[in-house]
Symmetry: C2
Subunit: 339 residues, 2 copies
């Protein structure tokens, strides 16, 4: 059977964006008469289905998706963005990005800005500061798809793509225990985001299952950054109850922990260190960093597929899917205890 | 003197975006009557100048700037984006991002997408594939500011912010010569972008000034990536004319070079290695990587200042400034020759 002509074929034939074709067909005022005429001619030439034409006339889609991330400086988010783009490649959708820089005010502005830019939907990961969620309601009200990934919150009843963060915290802790470490500390963040809470629960559960004490002064709350890692490690190693291993909330924080431990003459794996995210650098530092791979590529692909499914439904929120991916432990030198 | 009321003050008072205020004042159709009424009332209450009102009515600005970068996965571009945002913070402008992923087709789509999203201007760095430039003309035609940074091309007569790349190539080479290296190779890329050409000229000039031969088989052209670095190093070290130092086109390529050299038992600084960009990881790998700091923060700040200057002029292209920043050599272990 011959493939049906899509709005994308018309765009390719004319070397214009899908958005232009969509806007031309829907009578959007900013499109010139010449463009509109050319689009209609090609639509006719390629036997573009009148039903589809009618629906495009109604939709006025821009074929642009807005993606909001805390920061593109984390490889983890950059990789997700890359896979979302990859997953949308053949659909004619393109993405524009907005960074919240971990600020709720920026995130609110981001949603407004992207809606003003007429995006067809938004795929977002929450900032560390986000504890109110009203700003996302306008997207849902406009009947546009909203998907949350990685950092989500249950008070928004929208589809999500997440990692099993309890399992991630559990795996990291269990690995350290199996390596012989017994006094395991955790440098993390106390922001409202569910993933950090889940990881902490996984950590506590693994300790308890292996009959190890969970000392409250072994859990350090702060930001996630190289300097937060340095500060956390310093505080832990100067305390009376020094740990023999440290879990860091992300690989950047782990980098700071390692730097400080080296300065103090406690180079890992003498003190075990494990991070989260499997950032590019983690394989190249010394000692190389054990970490939990959060599968950003699978996460991005799942977001793209979910978006394409939602956009094709009259009510994008007909089913609210929650995809949960499993983490993978990556063992490197920083936890290879030889005691 | 009391500060004059700006469109930004009205936006803050109403907790809406500057774009909404601008669109409300300019009679943009998508703004509700209630919002328009609220904006006009606050404008009156805050004594917003009628002249400014008239100009806003005319402008219909969105206060959104589009930024096109090859990839946000490079820390260098992520840092520039961060500084552009920082430099625009108090102006009410916000940015949305588009990645070309080093593809000319994506870049062309990016310009179209951002213009369709009604951005007030575009700040861009060219993809490695870019050798035609017509797609940028539409921005200039719409009398919107276009600024190119880092990867620019002279055929576009627009303001630019660049590094002195000749000097960068010269400094990297001169440093290796001063460290006692004599057979210096260069793993780079042959794409049309001026910066790579300039760095190569700087390299050749430094060799010639120090009466060292520039062997043509010591210049390897390929992509810039970890795997390109591995391949380049392998080819150089397996040739008859093996170098004693390698300059890599960026820090990722240098990472690949170091990885391969370590595998071959030629761990730097035994063979000297220097990169470009001063990526975060370069201080943490073993050996730590000497590199050229390209000052992304200064570059981003200069782009933001230039944009604000251009947007305030009736003709943004009245003066076409070219800001050239000086590179800084960062010396670490990978070039500390002790022979």
């Amino acid at each position: 059977m011959k493939k049906k002509t899509t709005i994308y074929d018309i765009a390719q034939e004319l070397n214009v964006t899908v958005s232009t074709v969509s806007r031309a067909l829907s009578g959007f005022p900013a499109i010139s008469d010449a463009t509109r005429k050319a689009v209609l001619e090609v639509a006719k030439k390629l036997n573009y289905s009148p039903n589809k034409l009618a629906s495009a006339l109604k939709s006025g889609k821009t074929y642009i998706i807005g993606v909001i991330v805390p920061s593109v400086q984390a490889q983890f988010f950059a990789s997700i963005i890359h896979s979302i783009e990859d997953g949308l490649k053949d659909s004619g959708y393109r993405i524009i990005l907005y960074q919240s820089n971990e600020s709720i005010d920026n995130e609110i502005n981001g949603v407004k800005t992207l809606l003003e830019a007429q995006v067809d939907g938004i795929i977002a990961s929450l900032s560390l500061e986000t504890s109110v969620f009203e700003h996302f309601n306008e997207i849902i009200k406009q009947n546009k798809p909203l998907i949350l990934f990685d950092r989500v919150h249950e008070s928004l009843n929208v589809p999500t793509v997440t990692l099993d963060d309890f399992e991630a915290g559990y795996q990291a802790t269990k690995h350290l225990i199996k390596q012989g470490y017994k006094k395991i500390a955790f440098v993390t963040t106390e922001h409202q985001i569910k993933i950090f809470d889940d990881r902490l629960k996984g950590y506590r559960s693994a300790l308890s299952k292996h009959r190890l004490a969970c000392a409250e002064d072994h859990v350090i709350f702060g930001d996630l950054s190289i300097s937060a890692g340095q500060k956390g490690a310093e505080r832990l190693m100067n305390s009376e109850n020094t740990p023999d291993a440290i879990i860091a909330g992300d690989d950047f924080t782990a980098l700071g922990v390692i730097k400080k431990l080296k300065e103090m003459g406690k180079t890992p794996p003498q003190i075990g260190v494990i991070g989260f995210a499997n950032e590019t650098f983690s394989d190249y530092i010394t000692p190389s960093l054990s970490t939990i791979d959060q599968h950003p590529n699978k996460m991005g692909t799942a977001c793209a597929e979910m978006f394409l499914k939602m956009i094709r439904q009259e009510n994008p929120y007909k089913n609210t899917d929650h995809i949960v991916l499993s983490p993978t432990l990556v063992v490197r030198e920083s936890t290879s205890n030889t005691k």
